[in-house]
């Protein structure tokens, strides 16, 4: 590998690391911050609802836009700037209008940033090498996520919730520096759109009609399975957190013998539930990428989709905090497989269409709709019938996602000389 390309790949490592960092504060933590800014629950609910709706509506246009953008790097740069400005606005202008604008800016930027990272990756390394490279992305992203959860949690607790967003805005700078390390000339613009053979025939062909992409069976099946997967997955961690808060007893820390309060203990357990899967992803994601090249996409996807119903079933019948933390390791398997295999399968499916990023927008929309359904339905089930029933419902949905893939998902790995066959030999030597 030429050293210039290596520098671009190092840049991509750190870029995925820092992007994970700057996204941490925008999750459920925003609601906590707004209550400290004397926001009432109605306004907070309204902002979150507007945010999720805008998120759903922005995925497809954002994917289309990234396909059209001549420079994926510039699209990513603008998105990071948008997220940084959004964090600054949240910290400094916590009025309704300020937060609304900041939230919409963050949603639009994130919708661009997601596909842009995968597009840069594909444009940088090409189809043959993209599996392991996506694994590497997932590793760096989860290390970023895990460290950011610790950093942001400590900042919110020891300094102030507002400081979390100031730190986020400050972290946009190293994110941009890392992006700057990726050389524009190393990114093949045609490959980054899912076009054919990039450099040899740059932009020779126009992208295919959108309808032709959307009618591909593999895309339809994967999209529906992703919807079911996230309908089962999204509510699980919040439900676990609530369980932890309700069931954890008075705790004396082993070794040091200090008794910590219920609130602190529950928070520490939730923190573990967040960090454990990130550690698993960091450990196995590159291996998952290599496995998908050596054995094909389908068996690896099935493995990841099987881990979710198993996790849900364990959570449904068990309430011991340590078993719950252990079950979160299965979440790491899901995270690694989906983090690598979804963009990889989409790269296969969209290969030669010039619509890779639109396909990512389709998958992201399904993910968003699934997640929104999940919190609503699981919340209702937990209130009406108890959390055991809610976990069973989620387990059933997760099983349906697995069966959908098992029955209908074809192998998407290419069979030509540049694709699976060539890589099979690589995989055997690894």
């Amino acid at each position: 590998m030429p050293s210039a390309l290596r520098r671009s790949e190092r840049g991509l490592d750190w870029f995925t690391f820092f992007v994970a960092d700057i996204q941490t504060g925008f999750g459920p933590f925003l609601a906590v911050y707004l209550t400290t800014q004397k926001w009432n629950q109605v306004d907070i609910g309204l902002i979150l609802a507007i945010g999720s709706l805008a998120g759903l509506m922005s995925q497809l246009p954002a994917g289309w836009l990234v396909d059209m953008a001549p420079s994926k790097r510039r699209a990513a740069m603008l998105a990071v700037l948008g997220i940084g400005i959004s964090a600054l606005m949240i910290a400094l202008l916590p009025s309704f209008l300020g937060i609304l604008v900041a939230k919409l800016l963050h949603v639009a930027s994130s919708s661009v940033l997601g596909p842009a990272i995968a597009a840069i990756t594909l444009g940088l390394v090409g189809h043959a090498a993209v599996g392991p490279r996506l694994g590497r992305n997932a590793r760096f992203a989860s290390i970023g996520n895990g460290l950011a959860a610790g950093l942001m949690g400590a900042t919110g607790y020891l300094v102030s919730p507002q400081a979390v967003f100031l730190v986020t805005a400050a972290l946009a700078l190293p994110t941009l520096l890392a992006l700057g390390q990726i050389r524009e000339s190393d990114i093949d613009p045609s490959l980054a759109d899912g076009g054919l053979n990039g450099r040899t025939a740059p932009l020779a062909t126009a992208p295919v009609a959108i309808g032709r992409l959307l009618r591909k069976r593999s895309l339809v099946v994967l999209t529906f399975a992703l919807f079911l997967f996230h309908a089962a997955n999204a509510a699980m961690l919040p439900l676990v957190g609530t369980e932890m808060a309700m069931r954890s007893d008075r705790v004396v820390l082993p070794l040091v013998g200090i008794e910590i309060s219920m609130g602190q203990w529950a928070s520490a357990l939730v923190a573990l539930c967040i960090v454990v899967p990130q550690l698993v992803v960091a450990a196995i994601a590159p291996g998952v990428g290599r496995l998908a090249v050596a054995r094909g996409r389908r068996p690896v996807l099935l493995l990841g989709f099987a881990a979710l119903p198993a996790r849900a079933a364990i959570l449904a019948i068990n309430s011991d905090p340590w078993v719950i933390v252990a079950a979160q390791m299965l979440d790491g398997i899901c995270g690694a497989v989906l983090g690598v295999l979804v963009p990889l399968s989409l790269a296969d499916i969209a290969r030669g269409t010039g619509r890779f990023n639109l396909a990512q927008g389709v998958a992201a929309s399904a993910t968003g709709i699934g997640a929104a359904t999940s919190t609503a339905v699981a919340g209702y089930l937990a209130t009406a019938f108890g959390s055991g029933t809610a976990f069973l419902g989620l387990a059933g949905t997760a099983a349906a996602a697995f069966i959908t893939l098992l029955v209908a998902m074809p192998e998407t790995a290419p069979k030509d000389a540049n694709g699976l066959e060539a890589n099979r030999t690589d995989g055997a030597t690894l």
């Binding site: 941490t24 504060g25 999750g27 459920p28 933590f29 925003l30 609601a31 906590v32 209550t35 400290t36 800014q37 004397k38 926001w39 009432n40 629950q41 959860a149 942001m152 949690g153 919110g156 607790y157 961690l237 919040p238 676990v240 957190g241 609530t242 932890m244 808060a245 309700m246 069931r247 008075r250 910590i260 309060s261 219920m262 609130g263 602190q264 529950a266 928070s267 520490a268 939730v270 923190a271 539930c273 967040i274 209130t383």
Partner: protein, 131 residues
């Protein structure tokens, strides 16, 4: 424990912070205190600590009856980065105001077993220990 220590630190610091700007304007301050007999403060977003166990939470809503009398406050406890928080409605008489900090006279066990606050009509309240 950490939260309490933090409070103690700021409480100790507070007189020095306040003394500096107020010292030269003694006369104006006297006029103010006679005009505004009652000092009012917002409690939304304020931190509360359970009196026996020292668990920290935050006031996120006030609940009033038909006459508009405050009967309870909703307090959010626990969680990490906003995940796994728990909302509990606690009756208003359980709240104790000690100058800058707010205490709430309910036990850890009560919060643990209390139903999650859902904002529905039939809200069950956590009562003060002393009741």
């Amino acid at each position: 424990m950490g939260v309490l220590a933090r409070h103690a630190f700021f409480s100790a610091l507070l007189p020095f912070l306040l003394a500096a700007p107020l010292a030269p304007a003694g006369a104006a301050e006297e006029g103010l205190s006679s005009a505004a007999a009652v000092k009012l403060e917002s409690v939304l977003g304020r931190e509360v600590t359970t009196s026996p166990d020292g668990d920290a939470g935050r006031v996120i809503d006030l609940l009033v009856d038909r006459e508009g009398t405050v009967r309870a406050a909703v307090v959010e406890f626990g969680g990490f980065l906003g995940i796994g928080t728990r909302k509990v409605a606690i009756e208003w008489p359980a709240f104790r105001f000690y100058g800058r900090s707010i205490g709430v006279d309910v036990s850890r066990e009560q919060i643990r077993t209390a139903p999650d606050y859902k904002g529905t009509d039939s809200t069950s309240l956590v009562r003060a220990i002393s009741d």
